[in-house]
Symmetry: C3
């Protein structure tokens, strides 16, 4: 098991962690298996995407159309908070993915990268847990 | 393996099952690993969220904006059913998450709970399968 | 590990791969465990759904309301491409699910099938990786 710490901007900023996952798999010495990638915390999420500057803007834009920052959220009443939209977005995308590997290599598509996303309304250090299954 | 049965109201009602998952992990005697949480049935879903009264309302509201109950669904034509929106919502959120644990403890954020959601249009007993990976 | 190749139409066409997953689990000889189902490539996705003609139309329609094909995407600027919406949809639904089995049988609901979805804007052969965990 390994914990990555990734500092990200607010409102859907994302980081490509494929290389870190790849390295973790290689260092495990396992040839075939699967690796769990899990975002700790309720305003972060994990998915795969083609990591390029365009989609880095498109994805948060669409997520904010689904759950706009400026909407009213009951969550704000509970805590005097402003990140109701962040929670909803993170729960839709989800906290975990599992990626298979063979001969020590991740079985991803060429344009498919593993990303951690920070949906919170402030800059955050996000923890990502990697684990061989 | 363990099967939880959770009775839930319609239209996105959710239950916090973190304690049951935690107990299941402890009883397994395993110190490090991951636990699969899987919703049986096509109108239920699993995710993590900050489980508090506000988000319990916000999340179903946003999901119903995505796939409104009152829209027309081809699904209704197939079965004379009224839960096309339920199916779509459940398929977006997804049926499974995998949560890592270490020293017998789930590696969740402080405000991150595991929930089962019933998107169906009637009260349902939902089955959730827990399994150590 | 096994790789399925499934040819699918564009814009959210889906195929029911439950029988292939079931067969894979039986051939593994394992009685209890879980199977990873992973979509290789950044415009494909895996989920469960009640696989019937109505929802086969409803699901892509709702996904296209979330991320319309005809919207402007920064992604198109990067590559001169037209599939920004495809990437966003695939990243929301996600590339992986994990399904438990017992006595060699998948623990799915009666109306819950495993599907691979092609969100790309052209017909594609999608690769799906199956792996016992």
């Amino acid at each position: 098991m390994k914990v990555l710490t990734v500092e990200l901007d607010a409102h859907g900023d994302m980081a490509d962690i494929t290389d870190e996952v790849r390295k973790f798999v290689r260092e495990s010495g396992k040839r075939e298996g699967a690796v769990l990638v899990f975002a700790k915390g309720s305003t972060g999420a994990i998915t795969t995407i083609e990591y390029e500057p365009g989609l880095k803007k498109d994805f948060p834009r669409v997520m904010d159309k689904i759950a706009p920052y400026n909407d009213y959220y009951e969550h704000h009443k509970t805590w005097g908070d402003d990140n109701g939209s962040s929670h909803v977005k993170a729960s839709i995308v989800g906290p975990s993915i599992v990626v298979p590997f063979k001969d020590g290599e991740l079985l991803l598509g060429t344009w498919q990268q593993i990303v951690v996303i920070n949906f919170d309304t402030r800059r955050r250090k996000r923890e990502v847990i990697l684990q061989i299954l």
